[in-house]
């Protein structure tokens, strides 16, 4: 119980502080405390991280295993990096920003961090649902930040589509709960670890139906095809640091919820059908998103579709039941995508347009941003030696092993198409003559600090983990 309070303490304090402390402190105090939260989490979850104990139970409804701890750290990292970069983003618009709106942004981000962290700690299906729905609610002020027509439209779609999607996950949760009551004659259970233990005694028809509803529900929030409509809108209309958090943090939460639910099916005797559905959905999502990447006109929407493609790849990893592969891909995607959204935010701000055909010559106007964009594009498309290459290769190899050949082919196709699409679009943005009227406020070097560090992380992930994973595959 105390550890649960400790996890929640700093973000709550942050949310309160963002609304109350003197305005000039907010921009620095919030990121610093967010990094501190990373240390707190690492200290609390050390027993499971160092594998000295398999499960850290916080209360009856909350527990943390190694995968959950890793995801918690990753998410906190994503939020802290985005918030560290946020002052550089707001600097350019500072004269026209309302102080209260900036305060709300920081407060909502802190609550967003809290709810996302909670998702990973849930051991109770009901609590998991509440936490995932809460992430939608507290992140809608982030999407709404600009308060323009487009931002309002995106927020409305985000709130309504995700809420209705999540409602179906609640129906699924109820169905799984019902399946446990039939087996245990009387006392139903919503505890995931408990359900996994008794998986073979669950009423399997209810269980399957429930899991499918849960996958659809949480899948809406993860942006699976064809329930992805809200995602490009929300990710492109939110301010860059919020887009980074949505893409690098929120998608992992929704996918993690799917992973937890599928774990129950994997533990039961009837795993086949439902797991195949997850893998098929992942493959279809990856292909559809890569095709849509080709015909993009907006810079930030392009990264949103690239996120959907990665969601597809991660779903395949989840379907194959490999938590570690899922995490590896999620970590690589989050790190690279946060860096990309932050740099793209800078570029969009400086050139005053999001339209791909109006953006060109970033390398000539700002060499640092140009190089970072190019590196980021290489990293996100899975080019070696970045981390993404390793995780995607591992997933592909894993897909060929148990005979998921069509899936491997589909993923390879999706990866190739998206590689071409992203290289083409980013190439046009980076190269060419400098754009007249490209005006960056503040130091370009300072606003490249966070993205640069993240790119370095992505590179290191590839160089450090790469040989191990490849050796293991061999």
């Amino acid at each position: 119980m105390t550890s649960l309070l400790l996890i929640a303490a700093l973000p709550l304090l942050l949310a309160l502080g963002a609304m109350l402390m003197p305005f000039r402190w907010v921009r620095w105090a919030v990121p610093i405390l967010a990094w501190l939260q990373l240390l707190v989490l690492a200290w609390l979850t050390w027993p499971v991280l160092s594998q000295s104990q398999p499960l850290l139970r916080l209360t009856a409804d909350f527990c943390v295993d190694r995968l959950a701890a890793l995801f918690m750290l990753l998410t906190t990292c994503v939020v802290a990096s985005s918030l560290t970069h946020a002052p550089y983003y707001f600097q350019a618009e500072m004269h026209q920003l309302d102080q209260r709106h900036v305060r709300i942004f920081y407060a909502a981000s802190s609550l967003f961090l809290l709810t996302m962290t909670t998702v990973f700690a849930c051991d109770n299906m009901g609590a998991l649902w509440i936490a995932v729905e809460m992430t939608t609610l507290v992140s809608s002020p982030l999407v709404y930040f600009d308060r323009t027509k487009n931002a309002v439209e995106a927020t409305w779609k985000y709130l309504i589509i995700c809420s209705v999607g999540i409602a179906f996950a609640l129906l699924g949760t109820t169905l799984i709960f019902a399946s446990s009551q039939q087996a245990l004659a009387g006392s139903g259970s919503m505890q995931i670890t408990d359900l996994m233990r008794r998986a073979s005694t669950l009423q399997y028809q209810w269980l399957h139906l429930g899991v499918i509803f849960c996958i659809l529900g949480y899948g809406t929030k993860a942006g699976i095809f064809p329930l992805h409509n809200w995602l490009p809108d929300a990710h492109s209309e939110a301010p860059a640091p919020a887009s980074a958090m949505l893409s690098g943090g929120l998608l992992n939460c929704a996918l993690f919820a799917i992973f937890r639910i599928t774990q129950i099916v994997v533990a039961s005797d009837h795993r086949g059908l439902t797991i195949d559905i997850v893998i098929a959905m992942g493959a279809v999502t990856a292909i559809a998103a890569s095709l849509m990447l080709l015909r993009q006109h907006s810079f930030k929407r392009m990264w949103a579709y690239s996120s959907i493609e990665n969601v597809g790849i991660m779903l395949v990893a989840i379907g194959m039941g490999s938590g570690m592969l899922f995490f590896l891909q999620a970590a690589n995607h989050s790190i690279a995508k946060v860096a990309l959204f932050l740099v793209s935010g800078n570029v969009v701000q400086a050139s005053g347009t999001k339209r791909l055909n109006a953006l060109h010559g970033v390398l000539a106007s700002s060499p640092v941003w140009g190089i970072l964009l190019a590196l980021g594009a290489l990293s996100i498309t899975g080019a070696p030696p970045f981390g993404m290459f390793v995780s995607e290769l591992a997933i592909l190899v894993a897909a060929t092993n148990p005979g998921y050949w069509p899936v491997a082919v589909a993923l390879l196709t999706a990866l190739s198409i998206s590689f071409v699409a992203i290289s083409l679009h980013v190439g046009r943005v980076v190269c060419g003559a400098a754009k007249p009227g490209f005006a960056s406020t503040g130091s370009q070097l300072a606003s490249s600090l966070m993205p640069g560090l993240l790119m370095l992380c992505s590179l290191l992930l590839g160089l450090l983990i790469g040989p191990q994973v490849l050796g293991y595959l061999r």
Binding site: V152, E153, I160, V164, A167, Q181, G186, G188
Partner: protein, 216 residues
């Protein structure tokens, strides 16, 4: 097939929901929603009586207070300020959406009989039919209406259907979870309310079928 009085109560819940499909006046819709939520609260209290679980009375009271009291009042006050009392309907004409709702009720009955029977739940197939009917009615409401408030109402009806499903088909979720879900819903409605003001201010209408600026 004979219906018990509890089944009749459940059928009244489904019928008030289907009646919402028949009107385009948002005020009437909200009143019907309040009545419908009140009936669900009554059904919850009924279950509390038959199962001898006093906790369910508390759930019923809070449910009535939030869903039959605060939410309709809140949405109504927003409608009064934002304007837009009636809805023109969208993909399916309003005159047709009520018969479709009734047909779906029949389809849900067939579906409910095909699903495995529940051992522990009260209400059996009848409860299942009406709960599923609420979910499909809510979906129809969301699909057939243009005004943003009606989307929220549709979502709330879906949510009520899921609640009714969990009450009749299981022994009820733990109370803490029910309260958490209700809190989520309350926050969602309030955020939607704030957004409604903003939509009205930026677009000068709250017709979501005209929110089409964002596309690839």
């Amino acid at each position: 097939m004979s219906l018990s009085s509890f089944d009749l109560l459940l059928s009244a819940i489904a019928i008030t929901a289907i009646m919402m499909l028949g009107t385009t006046n948002i005020g009437t819709n909200l009143r019907l929603y309040a009545l419908h939520s009140l009936l669900i609260a009554a059904a919850t209290a009924w279950l509390g009586q038959t199962r001898h679980e006093p906790a369910l009375f508390l759930v019923a009271a809070i449910f009535a207070l939030v869903k039959a009291g605060f939410v309709p009042w809140f949405l109504n006050s927003i409608i009064r300020q934002v304007g837009g009392h009636s809805d023109s309907g969208a993909f399916i004409p309003t005159a047709l959406s009520m018969p479709v709702g009734i047909a779906l009720l029949g389809a849900n009955n067939v579906l409910a009989q095909r699903l495995p029977t529940v051992i522990n739940g009260d209400g059996g197939n009848i409860g299942e039919t009406f709960a599923l009917s609420l979910i499909t009615t809510g979906m129809l409401l969301m699909l057939t209406r243009n005004i943003a408030v009606n989307q929220v109402i549709g979502f709330l009806v879906i949510e009520n259907g899921i609640y009714l499903f969990s009450q009749t088909q299981t022994q009820g979720m733990p109370m803490a979870l029910e309260m958490g879900i209700l809190l989520d819903l309350l926050v969602a409605v309030m955020i939607a309310g704030i957004l409604l003001f903003r939509i009205k201010k930026n677009f000068e209408h709250i017709d979501i079928s005209k929110l089409t600026e964002l596309k690839d």
